[in-house]
Symmetry: C2
Subunit: 181 residues, 2 copies
């Protein structure tokens, strides 16, 4: 047992990241992944309980970092500290761009839940802080759209009554997309 056997598991994650990034989460079937890995579909479900579990495993590092960062940012008034946090936030988004790309395909069902308001506040704070670094209106717009399009990431690992749900959600993107008039 000295060396744990995880080669297949790693390969699954590598291929899944590739295909999720290319075709989206819903656009990638277990069959697709299995074929690319060169194993059976059942093998995937031996290593990962559900399809969702593959996505969760992929985004776990980015998710943890974002949790820390947002938590750190939550109780801070000092502008310098906040700016530094925002900078780290953006860097982190770029570093984890592969995982972040997956986010777009996550169903944003949480958005209607009341618990989501706090998250929206934090995102608004991020937007305001980042946009505040430049007086140029175009840059502010850029910042907003930046955060809306990519950095609008959020944490929610809530899973009630055995129902599995992805952990990352798009936030500000919806803020830019108002409901029907």
């Amino acid at each position: 047992m000295s060396v744990v056997r995880i080669r297949t598991r790693d390969e699954i994650l590598r291929v899944a990241a590739e295909l999720f990034t290319r075709y989206g989460f819903k656009g990638t079937s277990l069959h697709d992944i299995a074929a690319e890995v060169g194993c059976s579909k059942a093998t995937l479900l031996y290593h990962f309980a559900h399809k969702d579990a593959i996505l969760l495993a992929l985004i776990e590092p980015a998710r943890q970092s974002l949790i820390d960062l947002v938590a750190r940012l939550a109780g801070v008034d000092d502008k310098g500290v906040r700016d530094a946090a925002i900078e780290g936030f953006v860097d982190l988004v770029l570093r984890y761009r592969r995982e972040v790309a997956l986010i777009y395909d996550v169903t944003p069902q949480f958005l209607q839940e009341p618990a989501f308001d706090r998250v929206r506040e934090l995102t608004d704070a991020l937007v305001a802080g980042f946009a505040g670094r430049s007086a140029d209106l175009a840059d502010q717009t850029a910042a907003k759209v930046l955060l809306a399009g990519i950095a609008a990431v959020v944490i929610d690992d809530k899973r009630d009554e055995g129902e599995l749900r992805p952990a990352l959600v798009v936030v500000a993107r919806r803020a830019l997309i108002p409901g029907k008039d």
Copy 2:
């Protein structure tokens, strides 16, 4: 025949836009749309030949405008004109944010096609032009991510041998997501 009856058709488009924006294209079934509209699934397919046709109808205005804009931008060297075009490009993206949001769910299969190179050049020009307006490195990054995340839109209405394919594709977003090392 004086007044053409298109109320149901419009309602389908309205609901589809809402649901596509919320849950993504693949995340929205014909059943979902029909239930929300209050008609049968078959009615959807009476008004629109395929599910794809609904998406195509929704993004047609944004697509036409983008075609015009990119075409206008293609043969221009003058910096002022180019900047104005870029500004219009961004405005247009914001104006059509609802339609643009749909894009994320479009399968990016075109990206490997050779005909896509010209489009990538244009996108790169857009990125360079926009980023060049600010010397701040962070702003350049913002611009790149902006264009990568939202404005990375492109035109392709190619449809060969009866196979229908969506008309808009994400471009630079993929440029930010390199393949495996």
